[in-house]
Subunit: 488 residues, 2 copies
Amino acid sequence: MSAHQTSTTEETLDPHDWEEIRALGRQMLDDMIEYLRTVRERPVWQPLPQDLHRHFERPLPRTPRPLGDVYAEFKEKVLPYPTGNIHPRFWGWVMGNGTITGMLAEMLAAGFNPNQGGLVQSGNLVESQVISWCKEMFGFPPSASGLLVSGGSMANLVALTVARNNRAGYNVREEGVGSAPRPLRIYASTEVHSSVHKAVEILGLGCKGLRLVGVNQDLTMNLDLLKSAIREDREKGLLPICVVGCAGTVNTGATDALDALADLCKEEGLWFHVDGAFGALAALSPELRHLVKGMERADSLAFDMHKWMYMPYEVGCTLLRDADVHRQAFSLTPHYLERTTRGIAGTELWFSDYGVQLSRGFRALKVWMSIQENGIDKFGRLIRQNVEQARYLERLVTSARELELVAAVPLNIVCFRYVGSLTDAGAIDTLNKELLLRLHESGIAAPSNTVIQGKYALRVCITNHRSTKEDLALLVQEVLRIGKTLTT
Amino acid sequence: MSAHQTSTTEETLDPHDWEEIRALGRQMLDDMIEYLRTVRERPVWQPLPQDLHRHFERPLPRTPRPLGDVYAEFKEKVLPYPTGNIHPRFWGWVMGNGTITGMLAEMLAAGFNPNQGGLVQSGNLVESQVISWCKEMFGFPPSASGLLVSGGSMANLVALTVARNNRAGYNVREEGVGSAPRPLRIYASTEVHSSVHKAVEILGLGCKGLRLVGVNQDLTMNLDLLKSAIREDREKGLLPICVVGCAGTVNTGATDALDALADLCKEEGLWFHVDGAFGALAALSPELRHLVKGMERADSLAFDMHKWMYMPYEVGCTLLRDADVHRQAFSLTPHYLERTTRGIAGTELWFSDYGVQLSRGFRALKVWMSIQENGIDKFGRLIRQNVEQARYLERLVTSARELELVAAVPLNIVCFRYVGSLTDAGAIDTLNKELLLRLHESGIAAPSNTVIQGKYALRVCITNHRSTKEDLALLVQEVLRIGKTLTT
């Protein structure tokens, strides 16, 4: 039988005409490269036209339509209305931009389409190498384990599952949380990210299983309050199991005293997890590394590469100091997943043993290609550049008498607001809310917003490889202009 | 300030030379299309060369390297060693192949790089439309909600989190599982997928919170055993909350009596979840739809598009009948995620309110483009084609006296083994284990393996848009050849 013979009655999703789809693919590639090359010329963001929602309400298509037409619809109805995060003047929430290399790597990954759940195939070697590189980046030992996940939320969930199962003192996998002789407690500062709340709830510990500890003036965890909380809980018959330290809080970029937390966890016999979603990446810059000192002593570390490593969505990572403990939390081997001595299943390394997912995509490839193309030192320089840009913005803010800096700037986040001659707290909040919306609608710049100790603030989080200081100067100029308009 | 002005001292990850990367991108695209066009000419899978592991042990690169060189390494060291699932004769585990359209869509998605966590941007309209289409596909009401997730494991975890929180009878999010007045119980057949075990463990219910119910001869859940298990548990003071029905078990493709399960759950006041990872997709074929009747009555449904819709990894989906209940299980709105009345955050639809992830990639795009390009009816035909191929293989197996069919073939999975003249059970197992490894190593075909009622079996799961009946005939021919070699 010839390898080329196929039945005439059997259908496939492969193209009839390979040259036609190649030509269309080239057009898509050219368009996307041009779209990204010219991103600075377009607004950061624009509102959706009224009728766009209706456009996306057509029912399930039953019959085929040429891919070129579908692509034309994508260009007309999707491409003009981005989130904004690809733009040099987007600084909302915590988002990366993506890169051309990341885009090309995603294409290669989807075509090659390996299942990274396990099995004997080259993709697993790529992911293993990326995890080894992550250990190097953060000073974790070679014996540590790791897993690429969809992002920081999953990275925290995976790490806290391991922490729960390892420190509860009995077989949680078998018995469940309901069998705990003493209620389990996890500690984090009031500034901890919502994904930690979500993880604790999913794990069945309940919101009340997460005790929030007050912060110092610099918005880092107050260790005296932590110590007394632990003591108090032990006296009440609860079982403290874990402390979550923040490497870069989402609000202001504050980093808890990680070395002191590591000491305390060691003394108290607690699991030490660090949520370093973006802040952990400061370790890549020799000039910033001291900010996250102590992070390398964590039992587990969660961080994101689609934030401050600028990769396209999705890719986050969890590192675990103890690979066995990591595996014990997730490993399951039913008959249909049994390992063999040779053949496709002939390996002991199954990433599905280290997390939630069984089938897993090749998110490792974009990281592997990007780190090689740029060298990790360049990521360190870009991260430092973003921090210097934040300091530059801080200077611009503090030197403009209409503006108020609302929080310290320890890293890459600047929270400030327009005050002008206003004195009423409510009026200042109202003004800044409207100011932010006008800024978004202008398409010129996109910070997000938060509340710091009761004050509504514009929040500029610089995890953007396309931003320049000039972009930040333009932001301040526009804030002053809009603020003035709104107060006169 | 000109939009084109950039500081000379500031770095970026954007290319210096856009034409150079465009040329390289075109090369990558051409190579991948050619790689997929010629996939049938290559072995399904091949062992990794001895020294390949060592190749991937180089430490973290500090300095840059031309992207073309990195890509050359990908071509030489990665591309020749796939999982195998892209090949027409791969039928291991449950995997899709991916498609050219899926590959191109992933490129577009990564370049556009929206954050699908929420916000006002076109990507959310695309995902909403895909979810609406999924409701149509499976007969869920327009008022239902849904979420695209990384795959079946997450789809089950999301659904079971909602089930737990909704049916525990108290505020689980606040109080945790440890505060349950009565231990919570979930029911599923002994054939249920391991991802359900994993989800139940993560949720803090413990393995013992999942009661496995025995199966009938056809490997579907025995409803009498289920009823008595529920009664017995209630008498013991446990709280039954949920039944998981299987639409297509991983071992054999058996589908529980879903209509009867829906009735029973209604009577008993239990949440009815269906794990339809691949089997749910049978609903797309008018000829097969009856197999999953009752699924449309589920409170929640988990299924995968990277399996029997052939999309590249990763994309799965959870549908929830009650959108409010869905949202109540996950919604969290800290200050830094506050919705605004206008601007980028001016929407009530935040997908992060419906699952674990906050930042989310644009996995919706490949589904949106593929369904439009092909029309959903074509997916139904391809699914039916795979089922007919399974029946064809069943006939080949039952008509070869050396082979034994080990389980019924209700859907797309055929479990069989070579017996020849052997009679000793252990010897038959040993023979088939070796036979499978030789089959893998031959590169001709790749089933996986399982154990059905004590019998080791080759397991052929056809979720492959590239397979033909001739491919299956070749499989049987090779199994007979290797079996004969091993027994003479």
